[in-house]
């Protein structure tokens, strides 16, 4: 059987690995050597599960969307990650990593953030544990995501602007890595998606896999099967998708659908549809698909949603794309916004714009009456209200 999980040396097929400067070697090696051992220890599992339950609010519901199902004449379920504490799936991962960091004796946490969701989730767990927290964020993102900046500050985190390059997520990531290089001993870097050098993609996917495992358990109660026919998620770096897909990766009865942001259109030069526009390369320590010039300079993607606005995808997803295990669909700004409104008005759930992209698939693909279609409702739209207001002139 083909295996879509990570290999022992940190690769998904051709993708993955740890392409890091020597300065990061001790940190990365420490993680590589310890992440599975710690994450699978009964003490860790107990603490992790308890925090997911009592603090994050898990299990998140698997919600049968009645009106949507009727309209599209199929069975549509929403995995409600929007109900997680702080408003998105991101916190599953930060809870896992903060516990790991504590076990490794780290005293200081750094993270990058784009839309600010991961920054908030990181600042949150640092407040919870009483650990120093520094968040790197592109100078431009700091301006456009002001409410999340305020949340991070409320939570006691320091927000440091990344002023280089395009001053967005990619540059914030560079800055975080630079900080880590400069503080190799006491600092843990909490990466926010299934990107970065091995073991991050697998580590983040494992912490997010609670989404998929819960879905299985919940599905059997309502549909008497653990197997949906389709699992669908938006892909920025790919963590919410990886979390939902995880238990289904090697089960080919379950169709995997990855939804990327087409921005203003795949061929407009303002897009974030990495699988179509990207080529193999190395970004932030990982071999994967990424958007770049012929010359290997990483280009700045565009999407109306700041969380999908990353020039790469995780190596797991690059492999899903290359092997055709996953189907990749790209959705442009307008369709995403339309679906943000539609989900709000049909189900009373205002999704994050990232999340809205996933739902737009309902008009791009055909589903049959007996299909069981699971959407990862990765986050709530509160952070995007300004964008919605401006777009719809509310």
């Amino acid at each position: 059987m083909e295996n879509f999980n990570i290999s022992k040396d940190g690769f998904y097929g051709d993708f993955g690995g740890a392409f890091i400067p020597e300065m990061l070697h001790p940190n990365i090696e420490e993680l590589q050597k310890n992440y599975i051992k710690i994450s699978e220890s009964s003490e860790f599992i107990k603490e992790f599960n308890q925090l997911l339950k009592d603090y994050v609010g898990r299990p998140t519901p698997l919600y049968f969307a009645k009106r949507l199902s009727k309209k599209f004449n199929t069975k549509i379920y929403l995995k409600r990650e929007d109900l997680c504490h702080t408003g998105a799936h991101k916190i599953n991962n930060t809870i896992g990593q903060i516990l790991l960091a504590k076990k490794l004796g780290k005293k200081r946490i750094i993270a990058e953030t784009g839309a600010g969701q991961h920054g908030v989730a990181t600042a949150t767990v640092c407040a919870l544990m009483g650990v120093e927290c520094i968040i790197y964020m592109g100078e431009i993102d700091i301006t456009r995501q002001a409410p999340n900046v305020a949340r991070m500050k409320m939570l006691g985190a320091k927000v440091r602007p990344a002023k280089s390059g395009s001053k967005t997520l990619k540059d914030a990531t560079n800055e975080a890595i630079r900080d880590w290089i400069s503080n190799p001993i006491d600092t843990h870097y909490i990466i926010g998606s299934v990107v970065g050098p091995h073991p991050y993609p697998d580590m983040v996917a494992r912490y997010q896999s609670v989404i998929g495992y819960e879905t299985k358990k919940q599905l059997i109660k309502v549909e008497k099967t653990e197997k949906p026919t389709h699992v669908i998620a938006c892909v920025g770096g790919g963590s919410n998708a990886a979390g939902l897909f995880y238990p289904f990766l090697n089960d080919k009865d379950v169709k995997i659908i990855c939804v990327e942001a087409a921005g203003k259109g795949v061929n407009t030069g303002e897009s974030a549809a990495t699988s179509i526009l990207g080529t193999e390369g190395i970004i932030h320590g990982s071999k994967t698909l990424l958007m770049q010039t012929n010359d290997g300079q990483i280009t700045e993607p565009y999407s109306i949603s700041a969380g999908l606005d990353y020039p790469g995808i995780g190596p797991m997803h690059a492999n899903l794309f290359r092997t055709k295990r996953g189907e990749f669909v790209s959705i442009d700004d307008n369709d995403a916004m339309k679906w943000g409104l539609l989900l709000s008005q049909m189900e009373g759930i205002i999704p994050a714009i990232e999340t809205a992209h996933a739902f737009a698939v309902l008009e791009k693909m055909k589903f049959s009456k007996s299909d069981i279609v699971i959407f990862n409702c990765s986050g709530r739209g509160d952070k995007d209200l300004d964008t919605y207001i401006n777009y719809f002139k509310l």
């Binding site: 020597e22 560079n174 630079r178 001993i185 190395i282 010359d295 290997g296």
Partner: protein, 254 residues
């Protein structure tokens, strides 16, 4: 014999200068090399600019951004380097991040390096094990040296591995942190230099990151075979231009 190895055989207190290709002006590459040669530096590192230079501090980052804006590309650099060996005999190393090299084609890159008269490569984000598995034989076939980095955090075991795989010298990162000029060495750095000295590695050592003046250069030379200066020189280029290179070098050399 590779010019790098020759240099270490013949000289001590090696001063190697780094600059970013395409900075301050797009076509400054050869001008800078000529100036450095005239100033009697011992070795030159040409930085291939990259959009996301995550091991570099702000000075080199900004020079990369500027170079890319000026229009620097890998192809163009090799074009510029055509006359290289007619103007200098000192060893020249190219330092570039892995992605632009991959996109250019690793083999093609090596071939063009060789053709241009380049002596060695530093690829900071190419890990030792992957190099060993997939690229070492190629690099060595083209007669190029590959240099790796060690840091205060690198274990002795790993330093031995790196020593074994490196050819030319070992790039000894002076401190925790990315590139950037500093004024002084801390105690922990001195201890680290001592530790490495005692290991009696087969490759010579150049200390890099944070060398900015005669004092730090001298101290580096006392602890190794010499040093690499990057950010401080880039800053000088930015402030005073290419033609004042000699002023900078004079102040460093003792």
């Amino acid at each position: 014999m590779n010019r790098i190895n020759q240099t270490f055989q013949n000289k001590k207190d090696i001063l190697s200068i780094y600059f970013t290709a395409g900075f301050p002006k797009l076509d400054d590459t050869l001008k800078i090399i000529r100036e450095l040669d005239n100033s009697n530096v011992d070795m030159i590192e040409i930085g291939l600019p990259f959009s996301d230079p995550l091991a570099d501090g702000p000075t080199i980052q900004k020079s990369s951004e500027k170079a890319l804006k000026n229009g620097m590309t890998t192809d163009l650099l090799f074009n510029q380097l055509r006359g290289l060996r007619s103007i200098t005999d000192i060893p020249i190393v190219v330092m570039g991040y892995f992605n632009p090299i991959l996109q250019y084609g690793f083999d093609k890159f090596c071939i063009n390096c060789k053709k241009s008269g380049i002596d060695g490569l530093i690829i900071p984000d190419l890990p030792v094990d992957i190099y060993k598995k997939s690229y070492k034989s190629k690099v060595e076939n083209y007669g190029l040296n590959m240099m790796f980095l060690i840091t205060p955090q690198t274990s002795n075991d790993r330093i031995h591995v790196i020593d074994e795989i490196s050819k030319g010298f070992i790039y000894m990162v002076s401190s925790f942190g990315v590139t950037g000029a500093r004024d002084n060495f801390d105690e922990y750095q001195i201890e680290y230099f001592e530790r490495i000295k005692e290991m009696k590695l087969s490759n010579p050592l150049l200390i890099g990151f944070g060398i900015s003046n005669d004092k730090t250069f001298k101290s580096a030379c006392e602890n190794s075979n010499g040093a690499i200066i990057g950010s401080a020189y880039i800053q000088h280029l930015k402030n005073y231009g290419v033609s004042k290179t000699n002023d900078f070098i004079e102040k460093i050399k003792f």
